[in-house]
Symmetry: C2
Subunit: 160 residues, 2 copies
């Protein structure tokens, strides 16, 4: 069941509600996740997400219109496009990071955290408040590296 939110919020001048107008849908955030980690082509998104092709087509179009993805041609015959995350999309990284941290804590994967955030150059693990458990520094998001659990495939298929 899905009910469209009203487009105006008389009692709700709220930045959370406004952000959710743009990203408040699971596919959007999962597509952004894959785009931030390097997926670019339709088949990469589709293979990794297992999303219906017509649904993905609509989502990608809407995300371009909303300024989250930028469509760039990579082949003329046949005409083919890549979808690159914009600066605005990359700035949603902290939302995804906090969802990851919450998921690790409240619905942990049986095999351990699928992805770990590490302090670049130090290797310590980083908590949800950006503190490094090795050197104790408080970091910036730009200081993080993400390390996939070695037994797992990447979440999208490259070059499919």
């Amino acid at each position: 069941m899905w009910v469209v939110l009203p487009q105006t919020y008389p009692t709700q001048d709220c930045s959370i509600a406004r952000a959710l107008e743009i990203v408040g849908e699971r596919w959007t955030l999962l597509i952004l996740r894959d785009a931030i980690f390097g997926a670019r082509r339709f088949e990469e998104f589709q293979g990794g997400l297992g999303i219906a092709r017509n649904v993905l087509t609509l989502r990608l179009e809407r995300m371009c219109a909303e300024g989250l993805l930028e469509r760039r041609p990579y082949s003329e015959r046949p005409a083919r496009f890549e979808y690159h995350p914009t600066a605005a999309a990359r700035e949603l990284g902290p939302v995804l990071f906090q969802l990851m941290k919450w998921g690790d804590r409240h619905d942990p994967s049986p095999g351990g955290a699928p992805m770990r955030a590490r302090h670049r150059g130090c290797g310590g693990e980083v908590d949800f408040e950006l503190a490094c458990d090795r050197c104790g520094a408080r970091l910036r998001y730009a200081d993080l590296d993400f390390e996939r659990r070695p037994d797992l495939p990447t979440s999208f298929r490259r070059g499919a």
Copy 2:
């Protein structure tokens, strides 16, 4: 249009995907927002969100089943209940905070930020990496106070 995500992710052992199974819906996050800021009763959620009563009923039930809200009686005749955020729900605060910061930046309210995060006891404004712009300290989420823009009503109606 709403398509239910597959419940298993063969190539997707991912904490973001797992978290979105629980909170990947706009109403859920807006209900959590109001619960974290003090809404407890059906009418408070309903009045603030403008959500259809039957939709809200289903959402509250599901959020109780998922461990995000706890139902507590506050009246016997008639039987009436309050919905209290659990510890797991409060720990989604950082997700909401990051959505707020992103919304402030990318889809700003014409009247200025509807809510500001302040360093408790200092009054400085806090950025998305928890740095205080007055004293420069790097904070914890527990150090934040939230200040609603004075010309705005709260996002839910108390005691309705």
